[in-house]
Amino acid sequence: MIDLTVQTTLKGKQGSFSLDIHLQSSADRLVLFGPSGSGKTLTLQMIAGLIHPRRGRIVVGDTVFFDSEKGIDMPTRLRRVGYVFQDYALFPHMTVWQNLAFALRRHKENHAAHTGFFSFLPARLEEKDGESIRRMLELLEITHLADRRPSQISGGQKQRVALARVLLIAPRVLLLDEPFAALDPLLRIRMRKEVSRILSDCGVPLIMITHDPEDVDAFADDLAVYANGGILAMEEDFRGRTLFAQDSLSYLTDILNRGGHADRPHGFDDV
């Protein structure tokens, strides 16, 4: 599903941060687990093309997104990744319906027959496109919110809208950044089930970032444990092998010992 090797150094206000990642997984659901600031979000942003690694290679499915040796760098808008941001990043000046229509228009412009003299104009939505949006609203159970603005709906509802919006571009891969962190605990349990159901319905592969062990249990076919800009451990066929939520502490202590890391990664000091 994904084959990614990237190296890069970012300079920020608190000095530089270097990322050196090799990530390979053929599972449908890959979870990136690790503390804040360990490079998980950077990895997602590189897959989406929002940040460019200094060198490396990023392949999703059969599509090469980035290859520094061959000089390939596909622009973000053509990568067709379903990136759901941590704060959902809905367009605040558009209604829920318009948010979805925006995505579908762009999808038509980039991937359907949108050529000819007037191709510089925004794509027009036809009757069947309205039908696609309606079906997506139904799938996410947000039909009644179509005319509301993002400021008028709750966090869980925003998440459904964000998911509906990215699913309309028929994404090659769904990228979820801490999808449940902002939700209250009861809603979190419900949304995990919902997202799981929608993923099976749509058959879209998933890469999810989390620092919540419960998410690992709910989603991880494969698990990559991040620390300090690198991958500490890669576990394949992880699902059901252990109850991560209960054993995460001993598991992490174990890989820290097993890995023989002389320098204990800073990120795990507080585990």
């Binding site: 989406a48 093309g49 929002l50 973000t76 808008r77 053509l78 990568r79 067709r80 990744v81 379903g82 990136y83 941001f85 704060d87 990043a89 809905l90 367009f91 605040p92 000046h93 925006f102 995505a103 762009r106 999808h107 412009e109 980039n110 991937h111 925004p122 919006r165 990215v166 571009i169």
Partner: protein, 226 residues
Amino acid sequence: MEFSLFGYQFSLFPIILSLKVAGLSTLASLILGTFAARLLARRRSVCAAVIDSLCTLPMVLPPTVLGYYLILLLGRNGVFGPALRELGLQFMFSWQGAVVAATVVVFPLIYKSAKTALEQVDANVEKAARTLGASELTVFFSISLPLAARGILSGAMLAFARGMGEFGATLMLAGNIPGKTQTLALAIYDAFQAGNDALAACLVILTSGICAVILITADYLLGGSR
């Protein structure tokens, strides 16, 4: 085109010219200033900082200095003088010159507010649009510009009010020709110099009134600053 106030006869010309100059220069600056703001927003390089200072400079320079530079560039013997003559454009002592002078003076007002407004747009929202397949043009016109519109428009209102009162640069480039390039501000100066105090006072009240109405309307249209 005359009207009477307190028994005095006034020409309407300076009022109409001032509105025309302020309107056209605001429109020109709105396009140029927003474009410059889009290019320079969120840039942190040395080069961007230098260009940013150059764009802001007209706000702090005396208008006479700006007028002097404009004559050097656009005057008959100026850098672009011959080229402009070829095109049949005449900025010295013409109302078009007044528009150019006012445009340069009000440009920083719009540029500054547009840059602030564009930088306040949530970067994640723009990134989300890109990942959904939007080109940079679509991101700007469908996302960034609508979200920054209030800030840009409030800058434009300030620019219009400032353009109404533009004096120094206009005087240098377009001169003070009654019935041709004499704007409200210049007419007031003329009347005062000529000892026509009553006329000056009336024009002063008129100008203050127009500018106050513009600012109050702007405040109302933009939903108030509170």
